[in-house]
Amino acid sequence: MRHIIAVLLENEAGALSRVAGLFSARGYNIESLTVAPTDDPTLSRMTLVTTGNEEIVEQIKKQLNKLIDTVKLLDLTEGPHIEREMMMIKVRAEGENRQELKRLVDIFRAKIIDVTDTSYVVELTGASKKLDAFIDAVPEGLIVEVVRSGPTGIARGEKGLSL
């Protein structure tokens, strides 16, 4: 099963490599990992997406918690949560494809953020599946480049993952 785990980390040199090293050393899957400082500059927030059976995910969470730099951890998939990923996708946009792509952008509530005579850069935010769906919907052969941020997430409701 896919799990989205949010981790508050001390914003210190090496903290990210401790997490990455843990996954490779123990042979855990890691689908994506995003990290950036929070409003408190001494803290980073990391979102990682991993897959595995319940025992493995339980171990992953315990091992993450065991890292000295880990301040707090939350498995977002355990409760209602919102998942967002940002994608920028460069597509070949010529002739009648320009209109077709424009329609797709509207349908997915995406934005065209760069235009040339022959291309668009489309920005799209949403759950990872929505991004997948957009990629699938682009007519074959038009995709020039895809860049995705990896998912981030936040729990629904008033409680926050903070100190």
């Binding site: 040199a13 025992e55 171990q59 918690n65 100190l163």
Partner: protein
Amino acid sequence: MELNAVQLSGAEIVVQALIDEGVQYVFGYPGGSVLHIYDALFKQDRVKHILVRHEQGAAHAADGLARATGRCGVCLVTSGPGATNAVTGIATAYMDSIPLVCITGQVPTPVIGSDAFQEVDTVGITRPCVKHNFLVKDVRDLALTLRKAFFIATTGRPGPVVVDIPKDVTDPNVKIPYVYPREIRMRSYHPTEKGHPGQIKRALDLMLQAKRPVFYTGGGVILGEASALLTELVRLSGYPITSTLMGLGAYPMTDPQFIGMLGMHGTYEANMAMHETDVLIAIGARFDDRVTGKIEHFCPHAKIIHIDVDPSSISKNVRVDVPVVGQVASVLAELVRLWKEQAPSAVGRPVAEWWDKIGEWRRVDCLHYDRTSEKIKPQFAVETLYKVTGGDLYLTSDVGQHQMFAAQFYPFDKPRRWINSGGLGTMGFGLPAAMGVQLAFPEAQVACISGEASILMCIQEMATCKQYNLPIKVILLNNGYMGMVRQWQEFFYGSRYSHSYVDALPDFVKLAESFGHVGMRVERPADLEAAMAEAFAMKDRFVFLDVVVDPTENVYPMIVAGKGQHEMHLAPSLSERELA
């Protein structure tokens, strides 16, 4: 406060912090990046520096001191090769959860990353084998970082911490106010203390219902200073107890309730009891593969209670029914209290049928060996060592057959007496570890049991032993083979002894003498006791006793990797009783 603070350089801060931590011995080896620190060491006499002959020895010696005393071991090495040489020792400590602070020099901050002379990414290299590590880039962070290092190393599940200090951070010309932070709080590190009362109650209920209970205890009991409480609980309950290699001595091994070590080379009765038990009480043990054998066959009838300070140890290899996360001593104290309070009628409760069954297994006499042999059997050598030392010994070990024979035939009645590399299995550990032990307990009998292969891996430390007059006794079980490798090759590789024969051995007597020590060699069983007695009578001398043992002896019982714990190979002389 800082107005009154003494002004110190980074190098002086390192030394003063060690003094403030109450560190008595630092094991180290100087080099370019740590010269400022060595100069600061030179100017004081509170912290004693022990000059090893290889950085691996520094880490092992600090580790040995930590295992014997419970205090944090400290080593100090230079950058680059100094640090990489220490890595084996750091990893050894990590696998056995030993509190260690390893200070490594680093090239000056402006040249980090430039492939400078003797530069290596120490923090990167050691990351997977430390509890935590630090690179200190500013002298103002030095005191707090060192305090954190000791705090992290010694609390919770202990482990090694590396503090990497670039040379410019120890610059003797840059002085700052020094205040050592006594109290420390870290928002990201809160080691577990007390166990959950509800879980402790559930554990107790399960224990009271048990018909075929077994205590399975590990190194965590010793690390957690819980031996006395464990002994009390085991005696209150009347239940049998087995121990891992790392836990030997936490419960007196000469006590009748102790049924021997378990696992790959554990006793028949211990492994059979594990296989048949209905309630397994695991304390400070981690369900290592050398203990469990094939997981599918592990304790098939048991409900499992697991008490451990490290949440990540719970259900890591084996799913447990009643986890109790907490310091072993605090949980055991609570269990003892509850047992006395709630189960007075159960005290000494008869699990008589279970003991009868265990008695049957015991009668197999699984540790039987040929006592009439004209060659010295390694088992006999260990038994003689026990006899000569009266059981009062700190025994360090290297890795291999001699380690297993020592674990099987030297019953330790106290914790912290049996000092060996269980997790990493580091050949070369024994001699430097013994140095740490002997320095911590100058009056105690300290021996290192080893093999002719292991001992050569850190043989250079004989020079350290000479320099500091450490009267260690090396008991070398010399069979001319890497015995455990040879045993596996005999069993699983058609007796093709590929590179396990130690050809061209040195003359160990002359070797010891050349280092300024006493060397002795024994070849006949009849001479062994007198020779050992003579060696231990030399209370102020390092004695190297080269004991020529039967080259083909194997360690039994043995659970072959991938087999269940009840599928033991017994010695050929007992094989008619061997299970299918």
